[in-house]
């Protein structure tokens, strides 16, 4: 019954949507209050994990609790999807902020209840966040074993508490019904990320990375907070429901447009760039790899970093407030993609390569949003979540098994090692998707973005989208190269490995007997034979396979239920992310049918959507070809190429700069950190001598002097007190009488 009525309501909303091109109105759905448990379960799990830590539970209880809670959240999300489909519906959980002040015409209010706004965009996000969270928690239950109290570790429960609080915060961010609650989740995921990056808090580099991530995010969050404030100031509400209506009116009303309105998209953008690691705030993400690998996979690849994309998609109507807002998003995304890809090409740490590739892929998503294919962006978020999770988790398995070894020069031929087959081949699947090999899920999602760059006409005053499209295509080639560079180096080729420097000691050995089988048979050059790589066991392997299957199957929503109008497309077109995208679905269908008029853009003389399938395949395969030549067939050639580039004074800068990440960190240190450090010390001196010395102590002297003035009255003699009291009464009465005599109003 409920779902029927909801359907009716959302159908009605859709009908009105096509008329007004606004975001459909939401239906209040108090009967769906159980959806709150999607949030409460991880929250309860957090509390339970904290209790486990407090009571020093020795077993794997925190992992069991977390996995169960997250699986419950996933099941509830599925049930919610069954009930709501497209939405939007609003589910009020409890009153949170509900203020009003002023009176009459000047009445102001700020309402931000703890309520859920469920529409198709929310559902897409929750449908990959919760299952990925569940699987990665499962993976971590094995991966984090070394930190079990039984093995002398201390952080097992703390880790799962962090994962649970992250899922709670991410859920609040995505399902929020207003911007204030989104901000709560936004800060919450930042906090969880800080906790988990700094998980190994005894390691200075991890602490440094955690602080860096937190501070970089603060810069972005400042933008978001200011953006929310301006939204409230201009539109009088922070609830999506009222806000989207106000924004729809603002879109058609030319008179709206003071600077405080025009600034909104740019401020929101800053928040999104901070959280999603885009230029200029991307530098925290590669360092965030200091956290445990499941965290990198979950937070810093699949879910949290897509929050920025979510924000832009959710607030899409707000990005139409300034004509250059979306082109800015597109170009920042495209340039980030290119820059990160060039850095990724030259790194040797496989986890860092994956981190840069994440930055690069996030750049694609923003580019997709910027060139007005919110569908492409969201679809890429969806596919990327799966295949990047696979890649990170395989990296984690390798790191776990080889005692922290992540250098691709010191690992080779893993697919031939017993026990590592699943890791190697799931990684292969992930690489296929990331490289955009034809037929893989990444191929379709990336093409949707690339093609749209050639379709959408460039707005006046913006840099050409066609140029951006070619840049992105070039980046796609680079992506294919660095992706397969990793795989060919690590998984293919002759068997050879060196252990990392994190010898876990004997305590790990009994648990990994399986990995030792056949150890003597392989021809590895391990140091003196005292190192035994331990292959992943059941939990890790299961998760890897499940995610790889997910990554492959993620291609399906592109075609199903209808080609060119797949599930994701349908979902996106019913959400706020479709606002302002002129009859998006219709255009997609039209382009598929080849009914474009002559005025439509072309790519190499063909319809971009069709041509892109071929063009991007070519770029991808060329990249893989280079990788195969340099890193599989003739590994010496790679070193020779590097040596030759370094030898030539004209080209020396290229590999040096790429390997040193274009010196961006150093630039930031010189341009921002050093001046701030200087200012900080200057202010400290000012504070010590002027504020503390003159103002505070000086002011404190005043009341003290006043006190000394009255001290003689406090002589301790009874008669003195009596006289003073009587005098006080007398004075007051005298004053009253004096006023009386002067005839003033008493």
């Amino acid at each position: 019954m409920t779902s029927l009525s909801l359907h009716a309501a959302s159908l009605a909303a859709m009908a009105s949507d096509q008329a007004s091109a606004a975001v459909p109105a939401a239906v209040a759905a108090p009967q769906l209050a159980w959806a709150g448990w999607i949030l409460w379960l991880p929250l309860l799990s957090t509390i339970a994990c904290c209790l486990c830590a407090a009571f020093r539970v020795r077993g794997k209880a925190p992992a069991v609790i977390t996995v169960a809670a997250l699986a419950g959240s996933f099941a509830l999300t599925l049930a919610l999807y069954g009930k709501v489909q497209h939405g939007p519906v609003r589910i009020h959980l409890f009153d949170w902020i509900d203020l009003s002040w002023g009176s009459g015409a000047g009445i102001n209010s700020l309402t931000a209840n703890f309520a859920l706004y469920i529409d198709s965009l929310t559902l897409i996000w929750m449908l990959f966040v919760t299952p990925l969270g569940t699987l990665i928690a499962l993976y971590a239950s094995e991966y984090m074993e070394g930190d079990l109290p039984a093995r002398g570790g201390r952080g097992y429960a703390r880790f799962f508490a962090g994962v649970s609080i992250f899922l709670f915060a991410m859920g609040s961010l995505v399902m929020a019904d207003n911007l204030v609650m989104l901000y709560l989740g936004w800060e919450g995921v930042g906090f969880a990320s800080y906790l988990l990056i700094g998980y190994y808090y005894t390691r200075p580099s991890a602490v440094y990375a955690a602080k860096k991530a937190f501070i970089m995010n603060r810069i972005g969050d400042l933008g978001l907070a200011a953006g929310i404030w301006l939204i409230w100031l201009n539109f009088g509400t922070v609830e999506y429901e009222g806000l989207f209506q106000a924004l729809a009116q603002a879109g058609s009303d030319e008179s709206v447009g003071g600077w405080s309105v025009k600034a909104i998209p740019f401020l929101l953008m800053l928040g999104a760039f901070g959280k999603s690691a885009q230029l200029p705030l991307y530098v925290w993400l590669p360092d965030a790899m200091e956290g445990p690998t499941p965290v990198s996979a979950l937070i810093h690849a699949a879910t949290m970093v897509t929050a920025g994309v979510y924000l832009v998609a959710r607030m899409y109507p707000a990005f139409l407030l300034h004509e250059l807002a979306l082109p800015t998003v597109a170009w920042v995304g495209g340039l980030t993609a290119l820059l990160a890809a060039t850095i990724g090409m030259a790194q040797y740490d496989i986890k860092r390569i994956m981190a840069y590739s994440t930055v690069s892929q996030l750049g694609y998503m923003f580019m997709g949003l910027g060139v007005m294919t919110s569908f492409g962006a969201v679809y890429h978020v969806f596919t990327h979540a799966f295949f990047k999770a696979v890649l990170f988790l395989t990296c984690g398995a390798i790191m776990h098994g080889f005692a922290g070894q992540l250098d691709l020069r010191k690992l080779s031929g893993l697919r031939r090692l017993p026990g590592w087959k699943i890791t190697a081949w799931t990684m292969f699947v992930g690489c296929l998707c990331l490289a955009g090999v034809p037929g893989s899920s990444g191929y379709f999602s990336k093409d949707a973005i690339l093609a749209q760059a050639f379709v959408t006409p460039t707005p006046d005053g913006a840099w050409s989208f066609r140029l951006l499209g070619w840049l992105a295509l070039f980046t796609a080639g680079l992506t294919a190269y660095y992706t397969f560079r990793v795989w060919f180096r690590v998984c293919a080729g002759p068997v050879h490995f060196e252990a990392g420097d994190e010898h876990h000691g004997a305590d790990h050995e009994p648990a990994h007997q399986a990995g030792h089988a056949g150890h003597d048979a392989h021809g590895g050059h391990d140091h003196g034979g005292d190192f035994h790589p331990h292959a992943p066991r059941l939990a890790i392997n299961f998760v890897l396979v499940a995610l790889a299957v997910g990554a492959v199957l993620a291609a399906i929503p592109y075609f199903w239920p209808a080609y060119g109008d797949g599930w994701i497309q349908q979902m996106v077109s019913h959400s706020s992310a479709a606002a302002g995208v002129p009859s998006h679905g219709a255009e997609g269908a039209a382009s598929a049918a080849g009914e474009h008029g002559g005025s439509h853009a072309t790519l190499l003389g063909f319809d971009p959507h069709t041509a892109m399938y071929v063009v991007s395949s070519v770029f991808g395969l060329v990249g893989i070809g280079f990788a195969a030549w340099l890193h599989l067939l003739n590994r010496k050639a790679a070193d020779a190429l590097r040596a030759r580039l370094l030898a030539n004074p004209l080209t020396r800068w290229l590999p040096t700069a790429m390997e040193n990440k274009w010196y961006v960190d150093e630039l930031y240190i010189a341009a921002i950190r050093k001046p701030l450090w200087f200012c900080g010390h200057l202010f400290a001196l000012f504070d010590r001598y002027i504020i503390d010395g003159v103002l505070v102590d000086g002011t404190a002297r005043l009341p003290k002097a006043l006190g000394r003035l009255f001290q003689p009255l406090q002589s301790g003699a009874l008669q003195g007190y009596a006289v003073t009291m009587a005098g006080g009464i007398g004075l007051i009465l005298a004053w009253v009488v004096w006023v009386w005599m002067r005839g003033m109003a008493l």
């Binding site: 009176s103 301790g716 009874l718 009291m725 007051i732």
Partner: protein, 552 residues
């Protein structure tokens, strides 16, 4: 006949307290140590019994308290009084007559019923609480005067008994003489009020004043009488210009008695102020500007009374806080802080019903708890049989007495008004009431004063926790009796936990004074939450209506 019975029924809690007082006085004379040791627990049991009796015999519908100015006050605030009294009584357990009892126990002195003071002390403790409790249900000026004296007279003796030292006796004598003088002042004020109205019954006085106000204003005799009354009552609440005794007396008395002095007479004075000012009424918080340009409340307190209250509040806050800055003795510092807190509470008194008076009641309760916790630290620790007093004693307390240092930090933080703690909410409530009643400058003065106060309260937070132990603090040990420390911990827990119950406590406080507001204006009492809700609803409906009109 039934009237008398009904009236007596409302007094069952007080009668319980009286019976307990007699019992305590008798048991305290016993030769057996066990029986004497039971006296504080008899006192606490009496207090708890009275607490249980309050809801049964003070019905909140006001039927049992008909004819009172604030009929709901008894049934609600007595509970708060008795709860704080339990805490105060815990503070005294095993402390007041420590030396004497030790002498009896070690055999250095034979037991002497003439010398033992335990019975008297607890009997007077209960009698003073009885007096405070009776103030709540005062019907007329005579009752009010007797109740106030019943509250104060035992305290003079308690101060003298509290320590075997001369300082306590000196303090008691000062307190007694100055108290007598203050009583004379407000009794004179009562006489003038009687002369102006011709009645002693508070509700009748209210009617007379309303009549006078509607026909040319309250008589000048009444205004002078009210000012004298207020000034006299300033002694009870330790407000300027009658605050001079406070520092000496508080310092002279033992810490548990000081805590008692800071709460019980202050509460009595505040309640008396509420009742007496209530006869003139605050009705109509909105002000009008009269022909000469003076802002006058409509039918409210006469302007001179308001001005005098303003002056008293400002002076009290400022002198209290400034005086506290200079002190090295924690007890003197807390004495001055007690003066300053009276100043804050006067804001609520000036603001009037319902929010202002409710805020005063809430603040009294909160102050009772946090102040008791602070004194509990002084009472619970000792050096060579003497309670600790100076700031140096507190330095680095964390090292050896971590629990007490946290209690002191929490109590001082709450007195300062640090946000999540109880004192913050009390202060906030007072300030909101002040702003609502249009006394913004007064609230600003209070806020500045709070900032000054932070300077010395932060020392009480910082010294025990952050600083290194001083040579003095090294020699400090736990007191003989554990109960003062228990009281301190209970108070500190209350300071943290009670804010969770803010809503019910605020509502109870508002209920306590709601009877007055109802009588005040039968339709919708101004300033209550309900009235605000009504107002905003009507605003919203107006807005809706205008929208519909424009749509049409």
């Amino acid at each position: 006949m039934t009237d008398v019975v009904a009236k007596l029924q409302t007094l069952v809690p007080e009668v319980t307290l009286l019976v307990g007082a007699v019992l305590a006085a008798l048991l305290g004379l016993s030769r057996r140590k066990q029986v004497r040791d039971a006296v504080p627990w008899v006192t606490i049991a009496t207090l708890l019994a009275a607490m249980v009796a309050v809801p049964f015999f003070n019905q909140l519908d006001g039927t049992t308290a008909a004819g009172l100015l604030m009929p709901m006050l008894g049934g609600t605030f007595k509970l708060g009084i008795l709860a704080v009294a339990v805490l105060l009584c815990l503070l005294t357990v095993g402390l007041v007559d420590r030396r004497l009892e030790q002498a009896f126990a070690t055999g250095r002195a034979p037991f002497d019923a003439m010398r033992t003071i335990r019975g008297e002390f607890y009997a007077f403790f209960l009698l003073s609480i009885t007096g405070l409790s009776l103030v709540c249900s005062a019907r007329d000026l005579v009752w009010l005067f007797l109740a106030l004296e019943l509250t104060s007279l035992p305290t003079y003796i308690m101060v003298a008994l509290s320590r075997g030292s001369r300082r306590a006796q000196e303090a008691a004598v000062k307190y007694f003489f100055l108290g007598a003088m203050a009583s004379a002042v407000f009794l004179y004020g009562f006489a003038l009020l009687y002369g102006a109205t011709g009645t002693l019954v508070l509700t009748d006085m209210r009617g007379t004043f309303a009549l006078q106000a509607s026909t040319g204003g309250v008589s000048n005799l009444a205004v002078i009488g009210m000012i004298l009354t207020v000034l006299g009552l300033c002694f009870k609440i330790a407000a300027a210009p009658m605050h001079f005794y406070a520092a000496d007396v508080y310092e002279g008395a033992a810490a548990p008695v000081t805590a008692f002095l800071a709460f019980v007479p202050k509460a009595a004075g505040m309640l008396a102020l509420m009742l007496l000012l209530g006869t003139m009424g605050w009705s109509g918080h909105s002000m009008i500007v009269d022909s000469i340009g003076f802002r006058q409340p409509i039918e409210g307190l006469p302007q001179p009374v308001v001005t005098v209250l303003w002056m008293i509040a400002t002076l009290t806050m400022t002198l209290g806080n400034v005086g506290a800055l200079l002190q090295r003795s924690v007890k003197r510092m807390l004495a001055y802080s007690s003066i300053a807190h009276s100043g804050y509470m006067l804001i609520g008194i000036i603001a009037g019903p319902t929010t202002g008076l409710a805020a005063v009641l809430f603040y009294l309760f909160a102050y009772g708890i946090m102040n008791t916790a602070a004194f509990a630290v002084l009472a619970g620790l000792e050096r060579r049989g003497e309670e600790i007093e100076s700031l140096d004693d507190l330095a680095g307390l964390r090292q050896r007495h971590p629990g007490m240092s946290v209690v002191m930090a929490l109590a001082a933080g709450s007195l300062m008004g640090l946000p999540p703690l109880l004192g913050f909410w009390g202060k906030l409530y007072l300030f909101i009431a002040g702003v609502q009643a249009g006394h913004v400058p007064l609230v600003v003065i209070a806020a500045v004063n709070s900032a000054i106060a932070a300077w010395y309260y932060l020392r009480l937070v910082g010294l025990p926790i952050l600083s290194r132990p001083s040579p003095q603090s090294e020699t400090i040990g736990n007191g003989l009796s554990v109960w003062p420390r228990v009281a301190g911990v209970l108070g500190a827990v209350g300071v943290i936990v009670l804010p969770l119950l803010l809503r019910p406590m605020f509502d109870t406080a508002a209920l306590a004074v709601s009877g007055y507001a109802k009588a005040d204006s039968p339709t919708a009492p101004a300033g209550t939450l309900a009235a605000k809700a009504l107002a905003s609803e009507s605003l919203a409906s107006e807005a809706l209506a205008s929208e519909q009109e424009s749509a049409d």
